[in-house]
Symmetry: C2
Subunit: 336 residues, 2 copies
């Protein structure tokens, strides 16, 4: 085991930050001092780690020279504000927000493109991709040798926890109001989210794409090392607390060998293939699990070059915190 | 105004049957006698129509010779059981279940392919397509002159009411149990539906497609009169009470003229186009409305031949009962 290293987590009180702490503990990560950081509003809380209660401190006052590795599990804005300080202090950075440019902080999924790290030198900067991109990359990467892709179309139904604790609280509040026969005033979303689906997640750019849709496509292309891959992505906010549900259509150039696809997915790391007559869901299958569940594997109704499937994945664990910790483990192997 | 005709509704107590009664009343349909029918279990209830309470009678004991037009708003099984009696009695049939074959009972969306009726002779048999097929046809039909399609990919997020009142009751029950901290035992679905998404709706055939996915593709091809159209369809059950939410990717052979698409959809019958920076939802926009709402109209991120959009539509009204009544009105014009 490597010698222990001192670590900071920026955004430690959020859903992903909390999961990071849990996973660091579960995996027996070689930590010296763990510094939990948040903006002033959330500082002062305590979080349990290896039998001790760690106090969350303000990121504003933190001296990054105290640590060698920083996880950014905060918003893009907070990440972009404090990443320069961490870099200047010589820390390795693992960003979960997507705030750092692709060129500066390559997107890496541990099971898929960890070879990227071999081309990097300290101080390291890596980004753990958006959760749907991680799940898609885990499923698609092992299929690359089997087919040449023309295009991917994905509809990603995201849970309210992708907006953090506030999203979870808002869905719970709205649902409870409605079941008690009271009218709902949406606060966090611009429409009612309880018993409803929102066809837009976050702001839309000048030509109509959401930032997350762009991020998903760009990260997939980088992780799969297919810069020309065509991706149609639609992100939808669903009245679900946790877990990404992805409906994927793969169009290949030639007819798809379904038994070969099935055989490959049965062996793929980080993937659990469900029997064709069943279908995985986030609640009951994916939540709390470290693999992306795949179901509804089928060809096209009218096109032999088409592959359809459904993915259910934990957006907080496998889709965020676990991959980030796996990246840290890889950096340690590389002599962080 | 035509002379009044006697009508029966089979499945009058279900969500769609109830909406049929409402719409017949709203539209001042020329009805003589209205016979409300259901299986024995639901018979005996009363439903208000034009200020009178009509008693629901058993379909088993009904003599179809009493009426000239029958709406089948029951299950496929009930429809297939009683359609032959109605036919033998010389009735016109309008099926909402999809139980009758495409050749026997053509799929018609009033605004799209009503010209089909000109080739038919009495006794008439028509099918009102599945609700997502109606919404898609309304949006796609006016675009046909603008582009030649290579393929459509749709992820249809369906509400629990697509399974009728039992679906609605089950989502309400599960949600309430969970909010009260009690464990959920799924009854109607094989997994928890509250705060979850099911990637499978109904039974799956030998090659993995759901019956509804097949129906959607076949009906779209027939309504749009494009027998070669390639359709990838995935139906998802969402924790939503009413309204279909559809994520659609259109692939055309040539680059798409987005301003022209927008101009056409602004004028299209049965369609309401929402501003690009907003996005319609079923709750708050589509429910109770007689149009399909379209939003998130945008090109591809990396392909000028791609069109993406989002549709929110009332599955019970516009998606079922209203179109069926519109078909009946067309039949009356044709001398039913």
């Amino acid at each position: 085991m490597s010698s222990p290293i001192d670590i900071a987590i920026v955004g430690a009180t959020g859903t992903v930050g909390t999961a990071l702490v849990e996973i660091l503990e579960e995996r027996d990560f070689p930590i010296g001092q763990l510094h939990l950081l948040a903006r002033a509003a959330s500082a002062g809380k305590s979080i349990s780690f290896r039998g001790r209660n760690l106090r969350v401190r303000t990121v504003e006052a933190f001296d990054f020279a105290q640590v060698r590795l920083v996880f950014f599990a905060a918003s893009e804005a907070v990440t972009c504000q404090y990443a320069p300080q961490a870099r200047a202090a010589g820390c390795a950075l693992i960003d979960l927000s997507g705030g750092l440019p692709l060129q500066q902080a390559p997107r890496v999924v541990a099971e898929v493109n960890s070879q990227v790290l071999q081309g990097l030198a300290a101080p390291f900067q890596l980004t753990s991709p958006a959760s749907p991109a991680i799940a898609l990359a885990l499923v698609l990467a092992p299929l690359r040798p089997l087919m040449h892709w023309q295009r991917l179309s994905v509809t990603a139904c995201l849970p309210v926890s992708s907006l953090g604790r506030e999203g979870v609280a808002e869905l719970a509040r709205q649902t409870s109001e409605l079941l008690n026969g009271r009218p709902v005033e949406p606060r966090l979303f611009d429409r009612q989210i309880a018993f409803n689906l929102l066809g837009r997640v976050g702001a839309i750019d000048a030509v109509g794409h959401a930032r997350l849709e762009r991020r998903l496509a760009e990260e997939l292309r980088q992780v799969l090392a297919l810069p020309e891959l065509k991706v149609a992505a639609s992100c939808v906010m669903a009245p679900v607390f946790f877990g990404d549900s992805l409906s994927l259509v793969v169009q290949a150039v030639q007819a798809i060998d379904l038994p070969a696809v099935q055989a490959v997915l049965e062996q793929a790391p980080g993937v659990e293939l469900i029997e064709p007559d069943d279908c995985p869901t986030v609640v009951g299958d994916a939540l709390g699990q470290d693999v992306a569940y795949v179901g509804r594997l089928r060809g096209g109704m009218d096109d032999a070059r088409e592959l359809n499937l459904w993915i259910a994945s934990d957006n907080v664990r496998k889709g965020s915190a676990l991959n980030a910790v796996q990246l840290a483990e890889l950096l340690i192997k590389q002599g962080l």
